[in-house]
Symmetry: C2
Subunit: 599 residues, 2 copies
């Protein structure tokens, strides 16, 4: 017996077996928030059943915890708790539960680098075999190319390729491996792909390796989001059984393949002209992409399966570039300091500098690297998802309609939203502004407690500060913050602050001796530096020493794509980074507690 | 509409679509000779339709050419020309058309060699990760093993393997590549497989690489025989379309996998404990096994796709040893001087000797290597299938019932058959004896023409010499030879003789200066040296300088399996061999003509 569900406002219809709404939405490819991966913890997968002709599961305790009686009355349910048991239903996904494309930093920072890619093309006119020259095909090639390896797949068809091309060929080399034999002279067409697999967004840049120019860019949601907003939920799912891991690998590879189709079309490049893809991402994204069992990244002592850069034939991964081409990852630094952090290093080049610099990439885990060319320390601060809107009453990601900037002038709130829409909630940068401004206005104290009466503080139940009145918002409901929300933000900040404080201490310097702080990652681009310093997220150094590094991840991948020297250099540097496991530091807890308050 | 066919004497029944008998026999796995691969050329796929209730295709011109009117009357047909169109039929396969296991040389020659296999096992007790030691899994392994590579497939499950084994593991290395991680100490169990893929027979030896002993041996027919007895028919089939090549690869791999199952059971070894297989075979068997497009081996100038030894993961070939284990071939010497000839070299070690030696491996193509440690020449003489019984009226392979030894005393014939059965035909060694004895008895002259009347010469139609009278034979029909048959043999001999004559001349020596002639391959073991010299197949040197090298092929594979030094040495030597393409030698034709007669 099947059920029929229509998702609104998208209007997607699906017929399937009785199941939880969240599962049916996944099946129908309807984007629905599920920050905790469907465990009933986050309460973000709110939907409204607008029409039901059939049986639906009874409302349960989990739902009662996350929904007000008025909301329940209005038909609100949690998609992860509600089962469509029979008949048909229309499910409306309210704005706050929609997953929308995050803003992508337009400019991926990239340094100029001398072109010397791993992929090289060599045009050859081979002498035809004759009774006087009976050299076998591969040896004939090697006499021109030197000692190269060859994949079996290519060897199988080599005799045909050479003869169809009438011995006028272009050999494609990946390092010392022959990965392609093309007909005629194709040496003007050499392409590579840089891929940044973020937990929520995937970015691909197609690079012309003859001139180093980026010829097309593409983006997609990471479809793994449907299996958990946070990486830990995905690890849990992937570790449960082999098929799950395979599934998560397949969907991310499929999503990338979709981008490849698009950008190849745009740039008029055949996918099999791409012979290398360099991939970056955090350790979990890295493991899931390669299909490596990820469980132990999330279990103390948080060890990944491999740290060094790895490279395997695209065929083994299913990536839609030339099957004999290679997929290469930048090295990871540690379990929670992934190849994306390596990109930060590649781009900011703090490993080449004399002065002490710091790179900080704020996210659920905040990667921090501190040092200079003689010594580098790295750690991952467990900042949690507060900056992404989780655990904050009206928190949301930095997507359309999120309040991203806040000022408080004479106890009045002036806010800006992304895309200038009516506000739906408040994102991480908005929260930093809000807390800093509340503090500066004397409305909260350094511990985040309300200490001043204003007309914006509403006191039915827990006291709340109203950021936007009901008539201003998209949802028609007030957007507020509670002391608990402020505390969540201060805790997240405390984790990050204690991370760099411990690194600073280990390096034997003072925080204000840091010459430069690079803010990497898309989050860094949107925060107000002054306010970040006010709440103590960043060290108190002059603003001109704080630099937006931008979205370095794909840029780092491109550097490696363009230059084998860069790749080798970074492999060497990363091998020497001292990773500091904060949870093993005896001062961590004390430092953390001291790092929570402001001022 | 389907047809039903019963094959006798095996009693195998099959129901299938209307088709040629030869195709139906293949489908039913009924062994049926098909020396030309079903092209209607050899006339060896003779069958008798003993019962037919339905429609059968009309007898055609090809059949009339190969069958006598009496045979046609008796129900004889050619299986490759006759289609069962409807209903049911019983098809009898007469003894001469049955494919039976060839005798396998019992003793594969093998030299003692110091054990140093490519596969090594190293037992390790790794320190468990802790917050103080967060090295990733692979780097933890590498700190004990040195710089090794790792297949993705193994990396994917490495975290689980290490933890399930409680960090007490045995690392399996193939050269510098980690190919296995086993739980506990398994270093006493290291196995390798030596495989000789003959065009008609496959031989596998399972070797314990801890002590170098062969622990089990297995044999099977090469199922590709059903697609042509000779390699050229198989090349033709395989080159027609991609699926055909895939098919020929699959069936030979399947046959080997069947042997592996048997010998693993016999020796109590798990197939995944075998981490390397070394394979030898002629160039066509080699290409078909690896799935390499073989066409150009059979087209002038006869170039294979690759000459050097190649090695690929077993997974890529489908061989049932450990999937991450490696399948390695010995190097080929040239298109028609394959890895089996390389084995001859490995075993006879003529490349290490001061004196000039020759190895000769007689077959459809006869591989000849001549020289010593300072210079080696090789050629392939196109001897054709006469020694395997083809193109000889009553020729057959060296299987049960074949006349393998002949003496003529007072114009009377004394013969011996394989397994002492009633004769069915005459095999190659029998033909050599017969021709030499006829010549010595003055019954034929040096050109193979009958020059003396005896009661054994029958003259209805072309004159024939009766080797066995009708009442002595299995078939109840006379076994005879004609001048044409004798000429076929002398031509085959001429090809071989001119091969070594040209090498001898190139090396600037006289034939009698050859210190030792090694007869390699199974055919060599069964010939009468004196008679071989009489007909001129071998140089006229004292018998004690002619040595049976035996079936060296699998022995050579075992040498390489046991020692990487041997493997490297042979790779180097083979790289230096001067291959002489006979068809490009301006003296070949003249030499060949002079090499045909005896005396």
């Amino acid at each position: 017996m099947s059920v029929r569900v229509t998702f609104e406002p998208a209007g997607k219809k699906v017929e399937t077996s009785p199941n939880f709404i969240i599962e049916i939405a996944r099946e129908a490819n309807v984007a629905l928030r599920s920050d905790c991966g469907g465990k009933g913890v986050c309460g973000k997968c709110r939907v409204v059943i607008v029409d039901a002709r059939g049986e639906i599961s009874e409302i349960n305790e989990v739902e009662r915890k996350h929904l007000t009686p008025e909301e329940i009355e209005a038909g609100y349910r949690l998609a992860c708790q509600t089962k469509i048991l029979s008949g048909r239903a229309t499910v409306f996904i309210p704005p706050e539960s929609r997953m929308e494309a995050r803003k992508v930093a337009e400019i991926a920072v990239e340094e100029e680098v001398e072109l010397n890619p791993a992929i090289r093309k060599i045009h050859l006119k081979l002498p035809e075999p004759s009774l006087e020259d009976t050299r076998p095909d591969f040896e004939r090639l090697k006499d021109s190319l030197g000692d190269v390896e060859m994949p079996l797949n290519l060897l199988k068809k080599l005799p045909v390729l050479l003869r169809d091309a009438n011995w006028d060929i272009t050999a494609v080399l990946w390092n010392k491996k022959l990965v392609g034999v093309e007909s005629g002279n194709t040496s003007s067409r050499v392409f590579g792909l840089a891929i940044d697999i973020g937990s929520s967004k995937i970015i691909c840049h197609l690079v012309d390796l003859v001139n180093g120019k980026t010829v097309a860019r593409g983006y997609a949601e990471n479809p793994q989001v449907a299996y958990g907003e946070d990486v830990v939920s995905r690890i849990t799912y992937a570790s449960k059984k082999e098929e799950n891991l395979k599934k998560l690998q397949e969907i991310v590879v499929d999503a990338i393949n979709g981008i490849i189709d698009e950008i190849c079309k745009e740039a008029d490049v055949r996918y099999d002209e791409i012979y290398e893809a360099v991939v970056v991402g955090n350790s979990v994204m890295h493991h899931l992409f390669f299909g490596i069992y990820p469980k132990f990244i999330s279990v103390s002592p948080f060890t990944p399966a491999v740290r060094q850069g790895i490279s395997y034939p695209a065929r083994e991964i299913g990536l839609k570039i030339n099957g004999d081409g290679h997929v290469t990852s930048l090295p990871l630094i540690a379990g929670f300091v992934g190849a994306d952090a390596t990109s930060n290093l590649v781009i900011t080049k703090i490993h080449e500098k004399d002065e002490i610099c710091m790179v900080i990439d704020i996210g659920t885990n905040t990667e921090i690297i501190l040092g200079n060319k003689s010594r580098l320390l790295a750690c991952s601060a467990p900042s949690g998802p507060a900056f992404e809107g989780a655990h904050i009453s009206h928190g949301m990601k930095a997507v359309s309609g999120a309040i991203e900037k806040v000022r408080i002038v004479d106890d009045e709130v002036i806010y800006e939203t992304i895309d200038n829409l009516k506000p739906k909630g408040i994102c991480g940068s908005g929260m930093i502004d809000l807390v800093a401004e509340l503090y500066k206005a004397g409305i909260i104290n350094r511990n985040g407690k309300f200490v001043k009466e204003t007309k914006r503080i509403v006191k039915d139940g827990v006291p709340k500060f109203v950021v936007a009145w009901a008539d201003e918002t998209e949802t028609g409901k007030e957007i507020t913050v509670t002391e608990k929300d402020i505390n969540e933000l201060l805790m997240a900040k405390g984790a990050i602050r204690s991370g760099w404080m411990i690194l600073v201490e280990r390096l034997g310097i003072e925080a204000n001796e840091i010459s430069k702080v690079y803010l990497a990652g898309s989050f860094g681009r949107h925060i107000n530096i002054e306010n970040a310093k006010t709440i103590g997220l960043l060290p108190d150094i002059p603003n001109d020493r704080i630099v937006f590094a931008g979205d370095t991840a794909v840029g780092g991948a491109k550097m490696a794509l363009k230059s084998v020297e860069e790749r080798e250099k970074i492999e060497e540097v990363v091998g020497k980074i001292e990773y500091v496991e904060l949870s093993a530091d005896k001062n961590f807890y004390r430092t953390f507690i001291r790092a929570i308050p402001m001022g």
